[in-house]
């Protein structure tokens, strides 16, 4: 058992802010008009602008991959670069990859269905099939960087990103890995967007140029965030934050759960992850203020991250870190209108 708390030492991201290493501008974004498919009128979302992965990470070959896999490769590479990790000096069989996603490689899954619609199930594409698997992004990261430790893909209703972060930290604590790359992301496709639309979950701002509002639904988003966690931190490593204990549950008493986690130590900053945004109109039983007391600064959930649903937790954390809070105790708090919560204690550096 490693008693040293895992430290967040590197960040990489491919988001509507672009492909970036480290912290980002975190300036409020406006959703863009969708042009990737034909719609009966204006449809908006927070989208990742197309870019050539090899221009960011030389040597990447992503032509046959789902965008999700390509983004995972770019984000993970940028995170390792940001962390200043020299993989040649490490035991690669002790480097883990933990990936969280709500929908997985949905783009190539749709392409596979398309080939079945066109050619019948007997005429589907053997190249596409393996790339539809949910763990493809994580395994491509392992393959590109020769990472031979645990390689896990998880999903969790409302809290996939938080669940990956907590489980990766657990691997480090139990000395099943020395370093973990935690990734969380999703792509937006026509089938996903139209499901939200037909289910009437989208905000009015998706269909007009009116300002963003959390009322009446959410604005879908896409992207990928990667974070490097280290168990025994290298002396020269940057420290964004130290991860403390965490809890997550699919239901039950949020207040009791969070208070049990915090004990007497209330956070100075609470980062609201706001996952489960698709049902945000459902009233939540208590506010973040109720949970953490009057003195904590509340960093509210951001629309660009809330739109990523299950996988948005890491983007929420990145946006909060990028807003340059001072050092101190923080609580990452994701709540779902479906019920349930994810809470993680952090010590910001």
């Amino acid at each position: 058992m490693n008693t040293t708390l895992p430290v967040l030492t590197g960040i990489g991201s491919v988001t509507p802010y672009g492909p970036l290493a480290g912290l980002i501008s975190a300036a409020p974004l406006e959703p863009g008009a969708i042009t990737a498919w034909t719609s009966p009128g204006l449809r908006r979302a927070f989208l990742v602008e197309p870019f050539r992965p090899a221009s960011i990470v030389p040597g990447l070959k992503t032509r046959r991959l789902d965008r999700l896999s390509a983004w995972a490769l770019v984000a993970a590479s940028l995170a390792l670069q940001d962390a200043g990790v020299d993989l040649n000096l490490m035991d690669r069989s002790r480097i883990a990859v933990f990936f969280a996603s709500g929908f997985g490689c949905v783009e190539l899954t749709e392409a596979f269905y398309q080939s079945a619609a066109t050619n019948g199930w007997a005429g589907t594409d053997p190249i596409t099939f393996p790339e539809t698997l949910g763990n493809s992004p994580a395994s491509h990261v392992a393959l590109f960087h020769d990472l031979r430790g645990p390689n896990v893909t998880v999903s969790s209703k409302s809290f996939a990103a938080e669940s990956a972060l907590l489980q990766a930290a657990s691997l480090l604590r139990h000395e099943q890995a020395d370093l973990a790359i935690v990734l969380a992301g999703d792509t937006l496709t026509q089938a996903v967007y139209e499901w939200y639309e037909v289910a009437q979950l989208l905000a009015p701002a998706c269909f007009s140029n009116e300002p963003i509002s959390s009322a009446g639904g959410f604005i879908p988003s896409e992207g990928m965030v990667a974070m490097v966690l280290e168990g025994a931190v290298r002396p020269a490593a940057r420290r964004y934050a130290t991860l403390g204990a965490g809890r997550w549950a699919a239901g039950g008493d949020v207040q009791a759960g969070v208070r049990q986690l915090l004990g007497d130590e209330l956070p100075e900053l609470t980062i609201c992850a706001g996952n489960g945004a698709p049902c945000a109109s459902t009233p939540l039983t208590c506010s973040a203020r109720d949970l953490v007391g009057e003195d904590a600064v509340i960093y509210p959930a951001q629309a660009v991250a809330a739109g990523m649903g299950e996988a948005g937790g890491l983007l929420h954390l990145l946006l909060a870190l990028s807003s340059r809070p001072g050092p101190g105790k923080a609580l990452m708090l994701g709540r779902s209108a479906h019920g349930g919560y994810a809470a993680l204690r952090l010590e910001l550096s």
Binding site: Y113, P126, P130, E131, T132, L143, D146, S163, A250, G252
Partner: protein
């Protein structure tokens, strides 16, 4: 000295398989050497092959909201906690870690690609809601009123074993008092078509580890283990079925679909699981192998056993129980964990069916022909999957 807070035990096993619902049916079928693989042609036009399917699924309220994979998971979980009082807080606060690779793909048809919105408006909306892999774990939670941490694992064919490994870590972290961990996957045209396109399917019943093996057969099912710490199990006076002594996960990092030819990544996984279990190579009495029946997997896996058990005084007994009811993908690792525990309970080493001309190895004792009876102090279940992932679980017998 055993640390009861850090010892993970199995106190319940739920199964739904082509043998029916419940571990006793699975055990009876396998002890009798009954093969569930059958030829089929109706799964989609043009398909001719061999699969193993589950017969009638138990009915659930609001079944239209659940995929077949969800319903298999719900049935196995229900079976796993059959002895439990539903009103107790222990169950309500428990966690769920369920593996799946197919999840709700069973409910979506290719017509969606011609116009998603129209497909949703004509009945597809609720069917598509079961698409995310997280739905499998969430469905079990909804069905049983379990409110603790709820997580799905999707790591191809290693998923089921990884779900058990992750759940064990969560118990060590005290994330929940008890965790239902396992896997569930249903047969679907999507996966049959995919494996068929890769020419990975044997049209006849598969022959794992045979020199004339010709591919895999797909099956379906679900298995759920109830895991908790020894301290927790003792406190509630639960019957302990097995001890999960060690677990490990690694990745080959060599190819998106093919295993590492020399099996080094899998061997490393086995060695780490044995190390955690403090279990010597002589102590392992049986390995329930991944054993898909594909040319590449089985030879790589053989090399892995030769590496991991090198120096053992006698060959390591190995079999593939996929020869009984096919490869159940995300459920495979969990079903095979259940079978491994059954093997220990019954002191029975299940032979690989149809293994007539095994891969040559002087370090592997290929179990074939008659069922072998032998006490097993420790046994291992090994899984691997596309993307290079490997998982190994070491089980031990509970102390009398």
């Amino acid at each position: 000295m055993i640390d009861a807070q850090k010892t993970i035990v199995v106190t319940g096993i739920g199964v739904i398989s082509p043998y029916g619902t419940g571990l006793p049916r699975l055990q009876a079928g396998m002890l009798a050497g009954q093969c569930c693989l059958k030829p089929v042609t109706e799964l989609y036009p043009g398909f001719r092959g061999t699969v193993a399917s589950v017969g009638d699924l138990p009915s659930v309220a609001g079944s239209h909201r659940y995929s077949r994979s969800d319903r298999l998971a719900m049935a196995a979980a229900q079976d796993a906690i059959a002895e439990f009082s539903r009103s107790g807080s222990v169950l309500r606060e428990s966690g769920i870690v369920m593996a799946s690779t197919v999840a709700g793909l069973t409910e979506i048809d290719p017509e969606i690609s011609r116009g998603p919105a129209a497909w949703y408006r004509h009945g597809g909306l609720s069917r598509a809601a079961s698409y995310p892999v997280s739905r499998v774990a969430a469905s079990v939670g909804e069905h049983l009123g379990i409110e603790g941490p709820n997580c799905a694992v999707s790591v191809a064919c290693a998923s089921g074993a990884m779900a058990i490994a992750l759940a064990a870590n969560m118990l060590l972290d005290e994330a929940a008092p008890m965790i239902l961990a396992g896997g569930s996957d249903a047969l679907s045209p999507f996966t049959l078509s995919g494996f068929n396109s890769l020419q990975a399917l044997d049209p006849e019943p598969c022959r794992p580890f045979d020199q004339n093996r010709n591919g895999l057969n797909l099956g379906e099912g679900a298995a759920v283990l109830v895991l908790e710490t020894l301290a927790h199990a003792t406190k509630r006076d639960a019957k302990i079925l097995a001890v999960l002594r060690g677990w490990a996960m690694t990745n080959d990092a060599t190819h998106p679909t093919a295993p590492q030819k020399d099996g080094i990544g899998l061997a490393c996984c086995i060695e780490r699981a044995l190390e955690m279990a403090a279990c010597g190579i002589e102590e392992v009495g049986y390995v329930n192998a991944h054993g898909t029946g594909t040319p590449l997997n089985d030879i790589a896996e053989t090399h892995a056993y030769e590496n991991a058990f090198h120096g053992r005084s006698r060959p390591i007994p190995v079999s593939s129980t996929k020869s009984y009811f096919g490869h159940c993908l995300g459920a495979a690792g969990a079903l095979e964990a259940a079978i491994t525990i059954t093997a220990m309970q019954a002191s029975a080493l299940f032979p690989t069916l149809r293994l007539t001309d095994p891969i040559e190895s002087d370090q592997v004792d290929w179990l074939r022909g008659e069922l072998r009876r032998q006490p097993l102090p420790a046994a291992m279940s090994v899984s691997a999957g596309f993307g290079g992932s490997n998982a190994a679980l070491v089980f031990g017998r509970p102390r009398a």
